[in-house]
């Protein structure tokens, strides 16, 4: 059963990823991204990461992709992109070399290394069946990683403030443009 789920989800994930890269319309790319993220959430469930599967759906498919779609609509850039021309000569050949190199090296390491054998006890907390997945994450998050957790609060606040500041229409710019038009 796990094998069947893995094969179906891997196909969905890879198809969605290829869709993001190859599709010409940004809206279609965002929808392909939803497919990839959803398949990824099911793979997380397969790996018994229940909490993160739910967070993946809520944060990624629910918030981030909707934000992408909002920006696409806001900018009105839902036009088709011409993918037949190569902006920089030789770029795609080099990108293919980089891609094959990355995948080839990673696959070679995975094929030759001996992974999956725990050689040392868990550094943070062991995964047990005794508690729920959420409780195990919370136990570690609010003890070992509590400062990092607090720092993420600061990070989110700063990024929200930064987003507001950067996407705000500058009053001074508008006045300058207005006076330029008047002249």
């Amino acid at each position: 059963m796990e094998t069947a789920i893995f094969i179906v989800c891997a196909a969905i994930v890879l198809a969605g990823a290829l869709g993001v890269v190859l599709v010409r319309n940004p809206v279609h790319a965002a929808l392909s991204l939803v497919g990839t993220l959803f398949g990824m959430a099911v793979l997380f469930l397969n790996l018994e990461a229940h909490f993160l599967a739910a967070v993946q759906i809520i944060v990624y498919a629910g918030a981030i992709v909707v934000l992408f779609l909002f920006v696409i609509m806001l900018l009105g850039v839902d036009r088709l992109e011409d993918l037949s021309v190569e902006p920089i000569a030789g770029q795609r050949v080099l990108a293919a070399v980089v891609g094959l190199g990355t995948f080839g090296l990673a696959a070679a390491v995975l094929a030759t290394s001996d992974i999956g054998l725990p050689t040392q006890p868990a550094l943070t907390g062991p995964i047990t069946d005794q508690y729920s997945n959420l409780r195990q994450i919370a136990d570690v998050l609010f003890t070992d990683y509590v400062y990092a957790f607090e720092a993420t609060a600061a990070l989110l606040t700063i990024s929200v403030v930064g987003a507001v500041v950067m996407s705000r229409r500058m009053a001074r710019d508008d006045q300058a443009r207005q006076s330029a038009q008047d002249d």
Binding site: A95, F103, L110, G116, A163
Partner: protein
């Protein structure tokens, strides 16, 4: 039976697709989506190794990656909006104001 290697190879493939897309595409929004693909590939690797080594730390790391990815998307899209206001329909090739 699915072994951890299958998940890791899938993650490597996804990372590769994201990296190639980031290099090839010129639309800043699509480039952000490719970054998300790469982050997701790394998340899958974290969770696979976390389960394989019996350590909950992998899942905690993924939690932090999710938070940082959300912050990155918010700031990045704000930059895209700001750039598009000044230079409509700019692609990544057009933005050379910081070139030395």
């Amino acid at each position: 039976m699915v072994t951890a290697s299958w998940y890791l190879i899938l993650a490597a493939g996804l990372f590769t697709i994201g990296a190639v897309g980031l290099l090839v595409r010129r639309n800043p929004l699509i480039m952000f989506m490719c970054v998300e693909l790469m982050l997701n590939a790394v998340n899958l690797t974290f969770i696979t190794f976390g389960r394989e080594l019996g350590d909950i730390g992998g899942q905690v790391s993924v939690f932090f990656v999710l938070v940082v990815a959300a912050a990155e998307v918010v700031v990045g899209l704000a930059i895209v909006v700001a750039i598009n206001r000044r230079r409509p329909r700019a692609t990544a090739d057009d933005l050379s104001a910081l070139k030395g």
